[in-house]
């Protein structure tokens, strides 16, 4: 099984990559770790006339600690988070998420930037960075811009990335040490894409909560009303009813079984935050 023929350019720098991505009639795709793109090429599901390989751009591999945030280069691998080779300011959520994406032999090559750029609704990083209120740093022909994770994801596989634009880094704010996170993922097999996943970030000391549901039919859902109820002290069946109602009112067309699944996932993520 081979992909259809394509040409290949190994980009030496971000500018070089952008120059090669500039709009032509051809389909040009950036290649990061290739752990989603290459299978899609092998299956001939994703057409490509040319690949621009970003993997040798060292600037995209760097991690920078700033007073209020950590800036992860787009090419930081899932395994680097898992092995804590990069600093963490999420009270351990990012190393945890990194450790359970697919399988070790995929995590060693797959990158956070590549995963976020693909915006598979069922993938782990997109929901995680939205939960963590991270920004996506983009670089393109017209310079640099940063966009909130919430605004970045537009729908399934649809993002705010423009033509010949690249994700340069993911900028994650330092989360307060008083915050507790809870995660829950439903997958049919270890390492598979999620059927449903949720992340709860609850900071009782500061009276703040955030609840994000992923693996839906579109961009991850930020459940603001439910989060307010968590802060107000609502728990158990009462909270489950609020979450179910917020999902039903979200405008997404959830069939009853999906509604139940997603609601259960969110409730369990909240419960898991209590265990930390």
């Amino acid at each position: 099984m081979k992909p259809a023929p394509f040409t290949y350019h190994r980009a030496a720098s971000i500018d070089d990559a952008i120059a090669h991505l500039k709009a032509t009639d051809a389909i040009v795709r950036p290649l990061a770790g290739g752990q989603s793109l290459v299978p899609m090429l092998n299956l001939r599901l994703a057409p490509a006339d040319k690949l621009v390989d970003l993997s040798r751009i060292n600037a995209m591999r760097q991690t920078e600690e700033r007073p209020d945030c950590i800036c992860y280069g787009a090419l930081v691998t899932h395994a680097a988070f898992e092995d804590r080779l990069v600093p963490d300011a999420s009270n351990g959520l990012m190393p945890f998420v990194g450790s359970q994406i697919a399988y070790r032999a995929v995590r060693t090559r797959g990158t956070i930037g590549g995963a976020v750029a693909l915006a598979d609704p069922a993938a782990d990083w997109l929901t995680t960075i939205i939960a963590l209120e991270a920004e996506v740093a983009l670089v393109g022909q017209n310079g640099r811009r940063a966009i909130a994770g919430t605004d970045f994801a537009l729908g399934p596989y649809m993002t705010a990335i423009g033509d010949a634009e690249l994700i340069e880094a993911i900028v994650v704010p330092r989360r307060p040490a008083t915050e507790r996170w809870g995660h829950y993922k439903v997958a049919r097999k270890t390492g598979e894409y999620a059927e449903s996943m949720a992340i709860a970030l609850i900071d009782k000391a500061r009276g703040r909560a955030r609840l994000v549901l992923g693996a839906t039919d579109g961009a991850p859902l930020v459940l603001e009303k439910s989060a307010r109820e968590i802060v107000a002290g609502n728990t158990g069946e009462g909270l489950a009813a609020v979450i179910r109602q917020e999902l039903a009112d979200s405008g997404r067309d959830f069939p009853p079984e999906k509604l139940l699944l997603h609601c259960t996932t969110a409730v369990r993520a909240v419960a898991n935050s209590e265990k930390r």
Binding site: K2, Y8, L31, G34, Q35, P39, V106
Partner: protein, 165 residues
């Protein structure tokens, strides 16, 4: 259009001219005749093609050959004198860790990497760690026992070496 690459494969320098669409697995099997690397699904799911790239396990079917330029690649053939791999192979033999053998090269490489990183895992943790390698024969019982047995043998060998030193 072919691209020239140079890499180290099993400790030997290799120069090759490859089409960009050629996978590392095809380069290893068809050009270099290193056929221990098996191809099952060719979409990164089954794990039969797992090799080491710069010391890290990776799927050779979804790594492009052009992208390994300058890297150090090691296949099962390149670990045939490695003491940990010999321990694993002996354990797979003793504990019925294989039947048809198709998944075995990938299983061995994944297990080798696992025991180097986390030598002290329970059976349940080993199951999670090898979930990226599919076996259709053994039901995984023998494989999990083999890896546990290899971990024990490897630990006692290490202890013996320490005592002798």
């Amino acid at each position: 259009m072919k691209t020239s690459i140079s890499a180290t494969v099993n400790g030997k320098p290799v120069q090759a001219s490859v089409e960009p669409r050629t996978s590392l697995a095809d380069l290893l099997r068809e050009e270099l005749r290193l056929t221990a690397t098996h191809l099952g699904c060719e979409q990164g799911v089954c794990g039969a093609c797992t090799v080491l790239i710069d010391g890290q396990p990776a799927r050779a079917c979804i790594a492009l050959a052009v992208s390994i330029d300058g890297s150090d690649v090691r296949t099962l053939e390149g670990l045939d004198q490695d003491p940990l791999m010999l321990t694993l192979k002996a354990a797979f033999h003793d504990k019925h860790g294989l039947q048809c053998g198709f998944c075995t090269p990938g299983m061995l490489i994944s297990a080798w990497d696992l025991l180097r990183r986390k030598p002290d895992l329970s059976a349940a943790e080993i199951r999670v760690a090898i979930s990226g390698n599919l076996c259709r024969c053994t039901g995984y019982q023998g494989i999990v026992r083999s890896i546990q047995s290899a971990a024990q043998n490897w630990a006692s060998k290490a202890k013996l070496t320490q005592e002798q030193a």
